[in-house]
Amino acid sequence: MTSILLVAERDEQGEISQSTVQAIAAANGLVDSVVTAAIAGEAPASASALAVEKVVTLSSIDDADLGIYDQATAEISALVESTSPEVVIFSKSDFGSVVGARLAFRSDSAFAADCIEISNAGDGVSVTRPVYGGSALAEFDIVSSRAIITLRAGAYETNTETGSPSIEAFESGVNVEQTASVTGTVAEAREGVRLEDANFVVSGGRGLGGPEPFSVLTDLANALGGAVGASRAACDAGWIDHSHQVGLTGKSVSPDVYIAVGISGASQHMAGCSSSRAIVAINKDADSNIFKEARFGIVGDWEKVLPSFLATVRELKA
């Protein structure tokens, strides 16, 4: 028997998130797994049909803890201590990345971040995760009595399997005094569609040479009803705000069409867009890695390619 604690997250409507449903599929894929899901706050309606044995609600974690996660770490540590799961699975979200890592060190467990696979290996468990910015994959055996992992969104299918778990409350009685405090939240102004939700993404990289060309990319994105993305190099150079960054350390997008303009296609960038339906590359350098990842490509100067591309898109859309 492998006892698994799965730390659930919510979507914007407060229901169980897709990434959590995927994590349940991963957990149920292990031999003889017994899965408990834990969730902060009251259990949402979607919790009662999860394909798990039990749902545990953690009422002591509230929004005041968001971003600092001191209370969440303490409460989940207490739950882990009292139930001794062999594997604890988080989504690779902001919450999961911070709480998972802290929990691992607090409970002297192994930690593996951003896993794309979890499987049985002999009596134990092994995980696969991208390393070197996605250039390579590493398979690790867990050689510790407990493993804490975070699971990359999309690594497993969103399972439609359902169950009828019992729902219980867990109270550790722990109440952490906040060491740092959140004094405010500032939302970045955004025009048009959210990058993560866009069906079309037009992204620019170092090959654009400066900030001005992003206005051409914006025109194209607008014509397609999409959003503008960028490589880390372009963001770090200050050509465009970091909220547009696509990649391992930026946003993950999966549009129908991802148009990469002047982007070399470094692994860490591809990590954020490789699940797009079609990648289109426009780059002067025929040897550029992006052409190994793209479905369609033009070897050429974006300044000459984009105006006619944009004009034709507008005609087709008209």
């Binding site: 930690f111 971040a113 070197y132 909220s243 369609f296 034709t312």
Partner: protein, 277 residues
Amino acid sequence: MRRLLGIGITELTVRIVVLAKQVPDPETPPSQFKIDESTNTVIPPNGVPPVVNGFDLNAVEAALLLRDAGADVEITVLSVGSDFVMDAMKKPLAMGADRLVLVDDSGLGNIDSAATVKVLAAAIEKDGPYDLILGGRQASDWDQAHVTLGLAEVLGLPLVSLVQKLELDGDSVSLQRVIPDGYQTITAPVPSVLTITNELGESRYPNLRGIMQASRKKPEVFSLADLGLSSDDLAPKLELRKLYIPESNKQVELIEGEDEADSGKKLALRLREEKLI
């Protein structure tokens, strides 16, 4: 008590340690990125020396920005590993950091991150105390993004991750923490552990004077024994079984028109044909 009051260092000096890791240059062209599958290690590419992890340079930059803002800071760069390449490791000094402390031991070549945290904590206990401990948001080799977080746990210090801006404010620090659609403003006490993200902005290039000064500085080196640790303390929790480059079987369809403008037009028509637009 403060460990060392060197030249120009007073009780008011804010002591900052920046964690830094030597990594293979992430700008290595993919064609030169190769793995020796018999040893599960990356084959160092010819003529591409290792570098300091770029995210750690963001943390160095964050410390330097505090100095630029007028704070009296002493910046110590701390690294754990083996086979250090000094030209790479001295870059933070050339940028303006004051000291370089290395835990350099052949036993540290292939340890996992749980062991790394143990060594860092021991080094900090020996070399500290510090007012702020800064690390990059993740390392560009193993991308685990948790050594600095784990260190906060082990040292029992407050932690704020993904900091894009920081200001010293008496006995506390005012921070901006990046979230998916904006940022949080956070006040944290001193001492604290912070991870710095690349949203902070590009790290400065060393100038000639900085490079000259760095070349004259010698790293302070600890061995494992100096820290009271032995290889028995560094037992792994994760064992690397296989490291490999995934195969890509994608085949690009190159669109070629009479000229580049024609290619652009043909591309749009091709995407329509595929019902993608």
